[in-house]
Amino acid sequence: MRKRFGEIEAVRGVNFEIAQGESYGLLGPNGAGKTTTISIVAGLLAADAGEARVEGKLLTTKSVAAKSAIGFVPQDLAIYPDLTARENLSFFARLYGISGKRNRARVNEVLKIIGLEERAGDQAKTYSGGMKRRLNIGIGLLHSPSLLILDEPTVGVDPQSRNAILESVEQLGEQGMAVLYTTHYMEEAERLCDRVGIIDRGELKAEGTRTELVSLLGEHDKVHLAGSGSLEAAAQACARIGAVHAASVGDGSIELLVEGASAVLPEILTTASGAGVSVHGVEVEEPNLEAVFLHLTGRALRD
């Protein structure tokens, strides 16, 4: 897909697929093109080139049938503050063709899912920020879509509500719903998404599972051994282990760069003890998507 706004090409050849029941994350900093991409996928914007298909149906700004398969949760709160949660849900459910008894039943179900049953009759403007966020997500779930698109749903949310939102999204994935999730929080992408697409300046730089992305870069685990004794001798002994690529001594610790740390950790500990070091603590730091993003784009996610 490609999309240009005047002189700025916001999306430059982004291409990805999401399987049924899969959670796909678009990870990138602000201005990377995430919102434009999902606006095209949600049928809000027309692509200048390329196409989006949902359940095989071509998605355009006018394609009513394809839109029925999509649930959309915008980045900003998109609720009517002077309507109650029940009225908000009921209105949007009707737009998706859910009326009558089905409407009432489904609204009650969603109210339960988002934990707003007790406040269902209160106007949304009286809710806390977290409650509004949950209602915002609930509207996207009303018609049990095949694909749920969430555009940075945790921006500006307190940690407690954020955790509740992430748990909800995890459950949706488990129920077989495909999820397209945009974020600039590395931890969210790692926690929620089966696969991640790293996007920057309108281009998809890489995609794959977390492991695939990390291995793509050849990054190694970092092992910190805190201890006392002959640290230099222990470091030299550990460096002779095949999976250890580098060893150095720090302030009361040994730092090792290791390939597959979990597999060789017992051997490392035995070697260090044999070299006369009394180990007090061990810390293993795996390479993360932040590092991958930095490596691919030359800048940090929060730049």
Binding site: S39, T61, V64, K67, L77, Y80, L83, Y96
Partner: protein, 383 residues
């Protein structure tokens, strides 16, 4: 269409809940119509009969003009007997003013020495004094005519008296017809009820179309656009909201002022047609102005300016068109003026055909502005 109705129902629920529409569409116009109508009625309700006294110190034939109740004369004035009584009654307010016919007035009209005709007035009753002054001026002119005729004929006194008597008794050769437009004028209560109704309908319909900008600001437009509904349904829903609010506002105003304030709107069918046409024109003008704005705040400011300017030019506060010139021409370009014009013709008992022209003009304004709005509205229904 079903989704358009859903959006309309949602919009109306919101508007009813925050009471803004009720205030703008019903309360404000009703209060202003009642206040303005009552105020103006105080000045112009009914016609006032001015009591002008007469002090006849001449006792000659020239005074007969005042006793002639026929055409051309002022009708009988109340003879107060003497000037002292007249002054006293003017001062007390029993008389609005008095005219003093001096001794020698008849002789003066027959070529004798000139005399002075006095008007006794009260400075606090300037209109009454002006009425008496006007009668005295007419009378002086009448006597002057007789004097000229008498001199031209070189008539003797007896002949002059006869001429004067004949002239006083004669019907005027030329009679100025009734130039009053009273029969086409709405009474103040009805005028301001209608004027406020059409003025505030421009504000009431804003809750529909311009709420697209609210939806965009609040993020809900994106949600509507992502829903499996045609974009025209969103637009249709907003137009229906405007239509419902506009029609409700004007209908409530018409009924309330009819039964509570005694306004006379005229033939209900004709009034209904005019109301529908005015509401359509208001929706189209409002929609066009909204499409020119980029933000909700900008739209609100522009719509307020346009509504007030059109209302003032259209005669919602005072009949600007009567000033003539450019203002009269500009007034003809406003829906307000055409709505009030149609209503004036209708309330004077005219047939339904009298509203054809104003209705067509209102529909024309609706069509032109609506077409312009449609050309530009696409950008309003984009995320």
């Amino acid at each position: 269409m079903r989704t358009a109705f859903l959006i309309t129902a949602k919009d109306l629920r919101q508007r009813l809940r925050d009471r803004s529409a009720f205030l703008v569409a019903v309360i404000a116009p009703l209060a202003l119509a009642a206040a303005l109508g009552a105020t103006i009625s105080g000045f112009s309700a009914g016609s006032k009969a001015y009591q002008i006294g007469l002090v006849n110190l001449d006792y000659g034939p020239a005074a007969s003009w005042f006793s002639n109740a026929g055409e051309g004369g002022p009708g009988a004035l109340r003879d107060t007997g003497n000037e002292t009584v007249a002054r006293s009654e003017v001062k007390s307010g029993e008389l609005d003013a008095a005219i003093v016919l001096p001794p020698g007035l008849s002789a003066a009209s027959m070529g004798g020495p000139p005399v002075r005709l006095d008007v006794i007035g009260d400075p606090k009753n300037s209109i009454g004094t002006l009425v008496a002054r006007s009668i005295a001026d007419s009378y002086a002119s009448y006597l002057h005519t007789i004097s000229i005729a008498s001199r031209a004929l070189h008539a003797d006194s007896a002949a002059t008296i006869r001429i004067a008597t004949d002239v006083a008794a004669a019907k005027p050769a030329i009679v100025v017809g009734d130039t009053s437009t009273t029969r086409n004028n709405l009474d103040p209560k009805t005028y301001y009820a209608a004027a406020m109704a059409v003025f505030f309908v421009f504000f009431a319909v804003q809750f529909g179309i311009s709420s697209l900008l609210d939806e965009r600001r609040d993020g809900t437009l994106a949600r509507l656009l992502a829903a499996p509904i045609p974009r025209r349904s969103i637009l249709g829903g907003k137009v229906l909201t405007s239509l419902a609010l506009g029609l409700t506002s004007m209908t409530v105003l018409a009924l309330t002022t009819r039964f509570a304030l005694g306004a006379h709107w005229g033939n209900p069918v004709g009034v209904a047609v005019l109301i529908v046409c005015a509401v359509l024109a208001a929706i189209s003008v409002t929609a066009f102005v909204t499409t020119l704005a980029k933000t909700h705040e900008q739209a609100n400011a522009w719509l307020s300016i346009v509504s007030v300017v059109l209302g003032m030019l259209g005669g919602s506060f005072f009949p600007v068109a009567q000033a003539g010139g450019v203002l009269a021409i500009l007034s003809k370009g406003t829906p307000h003026a055409w709505f009030l014009s149609g209503l004036q013709d209708l309330s004077s008992g005219g047939a339904l055909s009298v509203i054809v022209e104003p209705s067509l003009v209102l529909l024309g304004i609706a069509a032109v502005c609506g077409a312009l709005a449609l050309v530009r509205v696409r950008k309003l229904i984009e995320p």
